[in-house]
């Protein structure tokens, strides 16, 4: 099932894959969204390492991935990223895997599940949105001008980004373990790649792909999520056959950082 051209060793380095937890545990793949990298899961993933085979990775262009593998043609749609997830599944020879996809990776997980029906056994979609832009009768939450403004904002903050890319010396006093583990690759990003990933994330339309999901799917909808508002979560829930939806008390778009406890128990409940 290995896709052509995907050398096993290349996949590990390309996507900076880390595997933890018992080898015979059910595979749990955490896929980060636009804006950061696998660091997004640091407060959540470790809580599953007791019983699950936890797989963390960076999308190409993010974090510790191999930037030389970045092909602007391949990664001009979410399909390119989904192909990589499929190759990770092949490479680790995972079956009955659950993909936990946050933000843009929720749709990447949907596409990957269709590519590897024999390997994916469930999906957890956190703050999913199949289409950010409002469209005739569909509420995505944004207009096209808003996305252009986001791209402006990205470009205006190039300098700010180089600041945030610097290795952190002072620890985070609230969670001392956070500061210690941060590496030079912390949320680093190449501005050109970030700009393209933003376009791909916020200009894609994957509404038609939702109906293709056949595995048990949990949709986690945060409160006050301005990126993926309630109406969008409900749309995803209605269009993925047999999906269930849980509303989190966690506020904002990143419950993996703002309320890891609640997020962890919601995922645990789904996994049974």
């Amino acid at each position: 099932m290995t896709a052509p051209g995907a050398d096993a060793r290349d996949v590990t380095a390309r996507n900076n894959i880390a595997v933890r937890g018992p080898a015979d545990g059910r595979p749990l793949i955490f896929a980060h969204g636009f804006g950061c990298n696998q660091e997004m899961w640091r407060l959540v993933a470790s809580r599953f390492e007791d019983a699950f085979r936890v797989v963390l990775f960076d999308h190409v262009g993010a974090g510790g991935s191999d930037l030389t593998a970045y092909d602007p043609v391949k990664y001009d749609s979410l399909h390119g990223y989904a192909d990589d997830v499929a190759e990770i599944l092949d490479h680790l020879d995972l079956t009955d895997a659950v993909i936990v996809g946050h933000s843009a990776s929720a749709m990447i997980a949907v596409l990957a599940a269709r590519l590897r029906p024999g390997r994916v056994g469930g999906l957890v979609l956190i703050g999913p949105s199949p289409r950010y832009i409002n469209d005739d009768g569909y509420v995505g939450g944004f207009e096209r001008e808003d996305i252009d403004a986001l791209l402006d904002s990205l470009d205006s903050n190039y300098l700010g980004w180089s600041q945030t890319m610097a290795p952190v010396i002072a620890g985070n006093p609230g969670r001392p373990e956070v500061g210690l583990e941060l590496s030079a690759s912390f949320c680093r990003t190449d501005p050109v790649i970030a700009s393209q990933f933003a376009k791909v994330t916020f200009l894609s339309d994957n509404r038609h792909d939702l109906a293709s999901v056949t595995v048990p799917t949990l949709i986690l909808q945060c409160s006050n999520d301005v990126i993926a508002p309630d109406a969008v979560g409900e749309y995803v829930h209605e269009n993925i056959p047999g999906s269930s939806m849980v509303r989190l008390k966690a506020s904002g778009h990143c419950p993996n950082l703002s309320d890891p406890d609640e997020l962890t128990s919601a995922i645990r409940d789904f996994l049974g």
Partner: protein
């Protein structure tokens, strides 16, 4: 009001007490020349100073409980929630983030944000985030102008680069398929096309000359044969078009594609083919996009026209205009290359010299026009009498030479025999008084084992001598010499 302020934080009862210089801390906080906002860990506003309230046009009551992201214009909200907020939580602080604060009157106030995570007193109190905002209106406008100017320059540079790159690639193309491949490569690079194909129109057929069509050709406009698309045409179809052909939409979706574009390869008002691009994600098809596609397609069409002209000129330079046979230039080159043995089992090279008998009489009696007609017929018959690898040349007036690689004496004699028989046939079988011609033929067979080194001129001389011998002893016959 006490519910606004979380208990147990560092701002206890002493916040309003003056410091040693007599300045009350609360006054400093409220009137600081920057906006100060404190939020919970998940971003809901707990406190905002008077400066920020004044700037934003909102009272503290209106601000309390609002997510910080909601203070921002929508584009910046996306940026803040997906990028800034995660980094703030993971890293503990962010510096100099350029954002736009939405004011109560609907306008946007550009600001720079510094924010720090405050874990409270050894983790026993709730985590808070302190934000400081500075207004940067004038600077912001200037930066936006720079940004847009830089974008315009980059877009222009990218277009120039794409065209330049294509020009270089087209410049080294040897044939039409090479041009098609170069155009596919250029299009994929310039437009990030997931797939691209170039179809060249030969007659009524459209053939995929490079790249691939992920859809059946019958579904792609301009690819299904029939009339070539007009020079002004440009087609863009996306799966979101309501009036798009449902079959095309379904085919695009099943190929994991969202859109396609078709642009004709136009030169001198004619259409040589089409460039088709397929996209996994529908791109904005604006004027710049269309113009660049047209420009690349035009360059490719010009290159195709140049190559066609070049091929015609080469053919003219290397062939005899009357008969279309190869000329002396080609003959000498072919003998030269054939002197190197290429068939080890048959290390021979034969030349057959054919000279028409009494051709001058035909010219004199019937005129040059009839003479030319005879030469054309003979040329055609010689072509039919030889093997596929043999080369027939017109050497001069009524002289022809055939180069026969790997032909020993028997093979060469057989070819010469067929040549003789073909020439003897009546020139016009329908004519009641059939005109016939004959030829004196000389064959020279050379062994390519290095034992008798020779030059093309040596071989031509030997074949000529053999032909002359045929002429001398009565014409219409074959003389064969070999070493």
């Amino acid at each position: 009001m006490s519910s606004r302020r979380p208990s147990g934080t560092s701002w206890g009862d002493g916040v309003s007490a003056p410091d040693e210089h007599g300045i009350p801390a609360a006054r400093l906080y409220d009137l600081a020349p920057c906006g100060l906002i404190t939020t919970t860990e998940d971003g809901r506003i707990q406190r905002a100073n008077s400066t920020f309230q004044r700037w934003s046009g909102q009272s503290e009551d209106e601000l309390l409980g609002t997510p910080f992201g909601a203070l921002l214009n929508v584009g910046d909200r996306l940026f803040y929630e997906t990028r800034v907020a995660p980094i703030l939580r993971l890293q503990g602080e962010v510096r100099e983030v350029a954002l736009g604060i939405l004011k109560a009157d609907g306008s946007t106030m550009p600001a720079l944000l510094n924010a720090t995570l405050d874990a409270g007193d050894r983790g026993s109190s709730p985590v808070l985030v302190h934000h400081a905002l500075l207004t940067v209106a004038a600077r912001h406008d200037y930066e936006r102008q720079l940004l847009h100017a830089r974008r315009a320059a980059e877009a222009s540079e990218a277009r120039t680069h794409a065209l330049q790159h294509a020009t270089e690639a087209f410049g080294v193309c040897a044939d039409a398929d090479g041009v098609a491949r170069a155009l596919v490569d250029s299009a994929r690079e310039a437009f990030l096309a997931t797939d691209a194909a170039v179809l060249l129109h030969g007659g009524s057929e459209a053939r995929v000359s490079a790249g691939k069509l992920p859809l059946a050709a019958s579904l792609v406009p301009g690819c299904a044969g029939g009339a070539a698309p007009g020079p002004e045409s440009f087609v863009a179809i996306t799966t979101r078009d309501e009036d798009a052909d449902p079959l095309v939409v379904a085919a695009l979706r099943s190929a994991r594609l969202e859109s396609l574009t078709v642009v004709p390869l136009v030169h001198d008002g004619g259409t040589a083919g089409v460039l088709v691009c397929f996209f996994a994600r529908a791109h904005d098809v604006d004027d710049a996009f269309i113009e660049l596609q047209r420009a690349l397609a035009r360059q490719a069409a010009q290159t195709l026209a140049r190559l066609a002209l070049q091929a015609r000129l080469e053919a003219i330079a290397l062939s005899d205009p009357l008969t279309g046979l190869a000329n002396r230039t080609v003959l000498r080159a072919r003998i030269g290359t054939s002197l190197t043995p290429s068939a080890p089992h048959a290390p021979f090279l034969a030349l057959i010299f054919v000279d028409l008998d009494d051709f001058k009489g035909i010219n004199d009696d019937l005129g040059h026009h009839a003479g030319d007609a005879v030469l054309k017929v003979v040329a055609e018959r010689l072509r039919n009498a030889v093997r596929a690898d043999d080369l027939v040349c017109r050497y001069g007036g009524d002289e022809f030479i055939i180069v026969c690689p790997a032909a020993d004496a028997d093979v060469a004699a057989a070819i010469a025999g067929r040549v003789q028989a073909e020439i003897r046939r009546p020139l016009d079988p329908d004519d009641r008084s059939p005109l016939t011609v004959t030829a004196s033929i000389g064959v020279c067979v050379h062994r390519l084992d290095g034992s008798h080194p020779c030059t093309p001129d040596d071989l031509l001389h030997r074949a000529d001598t053999a032909m002359y011998r045929s002429k001398q002893i009565g014409k219409d016959r074959i003389t064969l010499v070999y070493e």
